[in-house]
């Protein structure tokens, strides 16, 4: 099972329309990506909460044995 980088970006874009989103394919296998998300919605939130919001945006793509996305190295920052 694999996922495309642009699919990850559009899922995150849906939840954070004005955010700066950078998705990189780490291994070329459609399973290992990094994503950097800078969004105003993160202001005042802990890192855990920021990451949880992004995971929620991915609508279960990462969850459980049928999660298509095995590894997402995530970096989030509030938009200053």
């Amino acid at each position: 099972m694999a996922i495309e980088g642009h699919e990850i970006e559009s899922l995150i874009r849906e939840a954070f329309p004005s955010a700066s989103i950078k998705v990189e394919d780490l291994a070329g296998d459609g399973n290992h990506y990094s994503a950097t998300v800078i969004a105003k919605e993160f202001q005042g939130l802990t890192r855990i909460k920021q990451h949880q919001l992004v995971y929620t945006a991915l609508k279960g793509k990462m969850d459980g044995p049928n999660g298509v996305l095995h590894a997402l190295a995530l970096t989030t920052k509030p938009l200053e």
Binding site: R47, I48, H51, Q52, Y55, M62, D63, G64, G67, A71, A73, L74, T75
Partner: protein, 120 residues
């Protein structure tokens, strides 16, 4: 599922530092788990490593417990601290050893300072 949630609550309340991981602290079986275990080992933290690969219901239960979809997961004094990304970032900025100090958990200060110097 409730049984594993009960087990988790017990573990994180009875142990100062708990790492739910794939594999064990001496034999991690996943890059991300290995990275976090490596940081804790380097800082000489005493922690309970729990191998989720040995119990599928625990592997799913822990994700529900913390509302966090991935493994590893680090708990300090019963509180979820983060997964690989967050713990690594905290280690590099010095937030991790600060947290341990605040919670009264022993670690190798020299090692912590080496991490800070290497990253600032």
């Amino acid at each position: 599922m409730d049984e594993s949630i009960g087990k988790i609550k017990k573990e994180v309340s009875e142990n100062n530092v708990v790492l739910y991981m794939k594999g064990t602290s001496s034999m991690p079986q996943c890059g991300f788990s290995s990275k976090v275990a490596g940081v804790l080992n380097y800082l000489e933290i005493e922690y309970r490593d729990i191998n989720v690969l040995e119990d599928e219901s625990l592997r799913e239960g822990i994700k529900q417990f913390s509302d966090w979809p991935t493994i590893p997961q680090l708990y300090v004094k019963g509180e979820f601290v983060g997964g690989c990304d967050i713990v690594t970032e905290m280690a590099m900025t010095g937030e991790l050893d600060k947290l341990f100090a605040e919670k009264g958990i022993g670690f190798n200060l020299e090692a912590a300072n080496k991490i800070r110097e290497a990253n600032n």
